[in-house]
Symmetry: D2
Subunit: 295 residues, 4 copies
Amino acid sequence: MNIGFIGLGHMGAPMALNLLKAGHQVYVYDLVESAVQMLEASGAIRAASPAKVASSEIDMLITMLPAAAHVKQVYLGEEGVLAAVGKHVLLIDSSTIDPQTARDVAAQATAHGNAMLDAPVSGGTGGAQAGTLTFMVGGEKNVFDKALPVLETMGKNIVYCGGTGNGQVAKVANNMLLGISMIGAAEAMNLGVSLGMDPKILAGIINTSSGRCWSTEVYNPYPGVVETAPASKGYAGGFGADLMLKDLGLATEAAKAAKVPVVLGAAAQQLYQTFSAQGNGQLDFSAIIKLFSAK
Amino acid sequence: MNIGFIGLGHMGAPMALNLLKAGHQVYVYDLVESAVQMLEASGAIRAASPAKVASSEIDMLITMLPAAAHVKQVYLGEEGVLAAVGKHVLLIDSSTIDPQTARDVAAQATAHGNAMLDAPVSGGTGGAQAGTLTFMVGGEKNVFDKALPVLETMGKNIVYCGGTGNGQVAKVANNMLLGISMIGAAEAMNLGVSLGMDPKILAGIINTSSGRCWSTEVYNPYPGVVETAPASKGYAGGFGADLMLKDLGLATEAAKAAKVPVVLGAAAQQLYQTFSAQGNGQLDFSAIIKLFSAK
Amino acid sequence: MNIGFIGLGHMGAPMALNLLKAGHQVYVYDLVESAVQMLEASGAIRAASPAKVASSEIDMLITMLPAAAHVKQVYLGEEGVLAAVGKHVLLIDSSTIDPQTARDVAAQATAHGNAMLDAPVSGGTGGAQAGTLTFMVGGEKNVFDKALPVLETMGKNIVYCGGTGNGQVAKVANNMLLGISMIGAAEAMNLGVSLGMDPKILAGIINTSSGRCWSTEVYNPYPGVVETAPASKGYAGGFGADLMLKDLGLATEAAKAAKVPVVLGAAAQQLYQTFSAQGNGQLDFSAIIKLFSAK
Amino acid sequence: MNIGFIGLGHMGAPMALNLLKAGHQVYVYDLVESAVQMLEASGAIRAASPAKVASSEIDMLITMLPAAAHVKQVYLGEEGVLAAVGKHVLLIDSSTIDPQTARDVAAQATAHGNAMLDAPVSGGTGGAQAGTLTFMVGGEKNVFDKALPVLETMGKNIVYCGGTGNGQVAKVANNMLLGISMIGAAEAMNLGVSLGMDPKILAGIINTSSGRCWSTEVYNPYPGVVETAPASKGYAGGFGADLMLKDLGLATEAAKAAKVPVVLGAAAQQLYQTFSAQGNGQLDFSAIIKLFSAK
């Protein structure tokens, strides 16, 4: 299949590489010349603008961009995708953005005659390289079915979430809960250890009780509890605190638009903002446990 | 074995019944006459005061009381346990109280010559009746080993948590995290559904992703997602909001004593207090999701 | 002077009337026909679009619009102000919007050759009618000096806040603190009265102590403490909870853009959102005290 | 008049000195020998225990102690005041403690035949030395009238708050609001300055607007805004963050007992706990603004 790919950053580049490995012809664009060259060296064909990607001989176009503003620019701008793309091209945006923008852009794509999916991912750069990402996908079911084989070359868990924008809704809801439960896990571990418990014993009890969550089982924020977790490796790598902060910002923004309270979600955002303002935004997000004690 | 049992409320009565069923001789005391009569009818022997229970021919004494003040009164008061008990009697307090009081009372028991365990439970009245409670036990390991066979007649998951007070620490840490993650689950479900997602699909995605927790998987607060959860039965039964409020109060009190921040823990306590002040303290604690919308 | 006025809502209409009373010629536009007719009946001249107002024989143009999206549309849209206005016309936006949009629009006005001020107000519809509004004004000082005589016909407290956008910054910072201190006042009054104090005595003590604030002195949320406050009149009139919610949304949005934590500001937003979601958004914002007890 | 005084710390010592200066005979007790010697050198008479102070030839007895546990010990202990004091002696506790303990101790004093007032102070060590403290007094009005002349030798603002315990209620409610509004002021100043405003101009606008409070006017947390405030002197001296933390702990404890939500009060407590856990508890409480940025 011929596929366009716009946005070759830490996530987009390995995703596009996996498309090439699967035997697809891939037309690429990015503002960063070195990123384009790297893909070219692997067999991709460069295009000079989003519009040029869109007007290539492609069946599908995938975008992976940092924020809503870029998505609007790339799809709706003067040199953008919709200005140039054929109606038969299936559009997939894998950026993590707010559901409203996802729906607005999809509505314009639909008006233009194109089918479009929102398909944000989780799994990080490791998952992007290994082709084991989770895709949360919103849009028409029959469009999802067409996209599925291609998404499966980049991920291993492809989840259909319902209508347009629901991929973004699922991601924002899941990650808000993740941010809350990670801080809760940090507070509970910190409290228990301060009161004299061994951290591994405490984690073991929580993990067989009603407090258990992914943040205590898989990614425990207390050093030494889970050997493979960032907490046991100096909080390096993983999912950065500033990325969690971005997702919590999307969650509170979506909640404001929906007129829905997210009291702990907003508190989590502010605690990550405090942690980041103190200079720790590059650490893994489980390092939030360090907010609660002297450095 | 001969066992004393003080505190025959919703939890204590079925626990004492399970001891009787297992063939133990049980000496009981409670302020409520009808509770004593019920146990007597099942074969227990009544005693006229905590001291009378303590001075009976017993090998072990178990207490199940509402709060720290009762525990101090029953063990340390003039007509209390320590004033009358023999040094060979193993003392077990299964009340949920703050770790500091547990340690203070145990220290006085030790000074008096008695081994003592703190062994708060989880599992609710259903678990008490079925004999499937979880016991979180603090104290000397060899004392724990002696108590284990008796605890196993009342529960199926008996966890050793380390030194004195650690049973209470484990419970308070677990339940604080539970309170936080339940509110987080409520906010995430409410947000996602408000933005247009089907609640079952949303829960399914979270439960295979990083936001998953006991509160989304087993006890989802959104009606209809988990058929066996209180949310699907009008929020009746289960673990009352006022009981969660009590446990969150113990958590913030313990954190204050330990000089440890619990920002989301305290926020959760205040949200449950708000929910209770609005008249909903008797509903199951997952009903907190109702705080965020018009009744 | 000839003045254009776009946005004739609850605030804009009485402001424009005060300009007429002061002897100015006023060209008006609003989407709502009845609002335009009311102004026409008072001597204003109607225009068919923002662009038509802008191309009238005017020296100054004032806008009073609900939100940032309207401001962008009115100034930057195809039939908007900048497309039609002469370079000599002084532009003043009195809408309450986020500082970034205010700065973006002002930058485009400057690029077009027009001086522009952001000048949000406080004082409510009562102040708008009485001509006693407070204007918080951002922009060049010499432009402020030119606008001052006109603003003084609509307000009595015209404050220069520094460069472009600073009027919005001042308003958003002040109102965030107001939202926080109102909830703080509600909690303190509710706590003290619940513990047995007379509300007037408590307010009297706070008002001569370090807890004193505008929310306890002038606008006390406890009924009967300040006779003229909405709390003593069933929480009718005044500044609606949903308007406070809007301003807190602007504050947290501006804080996100500035990467600055506002922990209590965000908590205040969520409490007002909860209060609004429970159906109370139309009450005066001091009614937030009702969130903390049964209705 | 002959007056007993127990508790000669940073607050108690200068208060007792002011009693001596006013010509009263003062019998003193403290665990710290050097404190007793200092008072003795100024003319006080030492007593060997609280009971010895109580059994001296006194008309009134004043206590100034760190926390509720000390108050209970000094009044109700075996060598305590009530075990030795004559019924004619007027008892005044100026410690800052929870209202419930104040009421419990006063009830026992009353049962013993003694009139008792709770009379916590504000004004800090400076006010104690200068004799300009504020006393918030709970108890019978006629008892208050008798105590007034003596309190006026130590303070200049003596406020009657109603029945027993209300002095503590007033202080806890006021200081909770103070803790909230100080953080609110810190967030608002930090936000406004980050968005480009001059801190003095911003404070000036807030102080003439609805956001004004003691924390912005008298004690502004931003350096350089109020020359006499701790913020302009490196956050030294003043009212320490750990003292504010203690008072917020009393507030949330009292709220728990009263079953009243204090959402922002609890958040303020946790933020001060976080600030203290990061090693800043000795700084003035307005230094909380430093929590929100890199050191």
